[in-house]
Structure formats: structure tokens, C-alpha cells
């Protein structure tokens, strides 16, 4: 089992290849979309590369959940309700929702996709192998 830092370095190299960014830009806190300029189709490319580089299987929607805002019960006035935040936590247990939960605007969900989130996800998958 590689260390957290070794996983980070490999994730960093993965994102450099997938997004054409400099490795200096791929800090742990960097958001994939806001800081690294990832678009929706890049998520598919990232999934391909993570699977290949780490030898893991990533089921559809597990790393980047689809239909993340399912119904009116979980969203009110552009923000996730308490139930919505709990559902998001359940679907993304590898993401740190601490800051997000304080102001759970739907538009900020994309900020949860950080480099650190990918490292945590890969660590979880490798530990389960």
C-alpha cells in the first residue's frame, strides 16, 4: 500500500497528463474545475487514467456522482437542505464537506472536487483491494 504522499504524487502526474496543467498548479487544495480548468468530459479522462495508473476499478458515478441534486426535497432556494447535505456525504464519503456544509449552495458543489478528494478516494480504493 503506497503512502498518502506517494498517491498524491501519482494523482498529480495523472492530472498533469489529463488536463495539461503544470505540476506546480496541482496542489492538494486545488479544485478540478475552478483552479485546474477541468470540464465535464475531463472527468471521464481522469477516471480512465486513475484506473490505469492505480490498477483500480471505478464504478460509474462513484467518484463523480451523477444527478447529484435529485429532487426538491434536498434543495431549497439554491442550497442543499440538511437532508441534501447528508445524502451528499453518503455519496461522497471521501470528500471533505466541512466548509461546504456551512454554506451549501448548489453552485459550490463543484468545489468539492479537489486534488485531495481524489487522493482520499484512491487511498480508500487501494485499502479495500
Amino acid at each position: 500500500m503506497p503512502t498518502h504522499d506517494e498517491i498524491y504524487q501519482k494523482v498529480q502526474a495523472t492530472l498533469v497528463d489529463a488536463l495539461g496543467v503544470d505540476d506546480d498548479d496541482v496542489t492538494r487544495e486545488a479544485t478540478l474545475q475552478g483552479d485546474l480548468g477541468a470540464e465535464s468530459i475531463d472527468f471521464l479522462d481522469i477516471v480512465f487514467r486513475l484506473e490505469r495508473n492505480f490498477g483500480i476499478t471505478i464504478p460509474r458515478g462513484e467518484l463523480f456522482p451523477e444527478n447529484i441534486v435529485p429532487d426538491a426535497d434536498t434543495v431549497k432556494d439554491g442550497k442543499l437542505t440538511t437532508k441534501g447535505v447528508e445524502e451528499l456525504k453518503a455519496r461522497m464519503p471521501f470528500a471533505d464537506l466541512t466548509a461546504f456544509a456551512a454554506n451549501p449552495e448548489v453552485d459550490r458543489i463543484g468545489d468539492l472536487y479537489t486534488v485531495d478528494m481524489l487522493v482520499n478516494y484512491v487511498s480508500t480504493k487501494l485499502a479495500a483491494k
Partner: protein
Amino acid sequence: MRWIWIDKFLEFRSREFARAVKNLTLAEEHLHDHFPGYPVMPASLMIEGLAQTGGILVGEASGFTEKVVLAKIPKAEFFGIATVGDQLIYEVTLLDLRAEGAIVEGKVLLRGELLAEVEIVFAFLDKSRAQQLFGDKNFVFTPQMLGILDMARASGVAKSSSQPS
């Protein structure tokens, strides 16, 4: 002009690999404009040839039930040029195939030398959304496009997953 940028398959192994040939001739209009007096095959059209080779390889894997679209080119490197009278060989290897799409590695060869290396990500259009937009029509795999694979099958070049290798 027909938007078909490969002439025929030389080899087709389902879910694995495809090799196609593209001959460049002065009968092609675009070569007279790119460039006048110096006809050079545009790099973008070589990528299109690889995408068609790879797109058919990816589409065949699901029996052409998916609408396979070129989504991203993470890498494209060219090491030379090709001109009229040249014969390009497109080789595409399927690296990964999943429910949402596929990734392939493509090479362009000219006289046995590597002319270009390209990575292509294909996405499958969401079926319900594609049905709303396009109905039953599969605008990706037209009869003309699939005819190239039919010719390869007829000549024994193509091996589908259901056929013994």
C-alpha cells in the same frame, strides 16, 4: 465530398485493435487549398481518420448501439508531413472501454515511420437524451461508414468478438 477519412481496414480485432489505410490523392479538393502548390494532408484530418478508425472499433464493441462521439484529444504529436501519393496507415489500440465511453491510442505511420501519436477519448451520448434529440437515427455510424467494416468482414480482415480468431 463524403466525410469518410479512411479507405479500408487492413486489420480489425474486436475490442482490441484496428489498422486502416488512407491514400492521399490530388482528387481530394482540400489538398488544393492546403496549400496551393504544396499539398499537405492537414493534421486535423489525420486525427479524424484515427477517430473514425477508433470510433468504429469502439462502436463495434457494443454492436453499434451507442452514439460514439469524439469527446477529447488529450495528446496529439506530429513528427512530419504527408503529401499526395503517400499512403497513411492508421493504427488504433483500445486502451479502456466502460459504460460512459472509451479511450484509444492512435498512431499514424508513413513508410513504416511514426508520423503522429494521438490519444482520443470517446463519450457515449446519454441514450434517453440522444433519443430525444435524434430519434432512432444513428448519425455517427452511417451506412457509408459501416460499409467500410462490412468490406473488411467480407474480405476476412475483420474479426468480431463473436467470431473465432
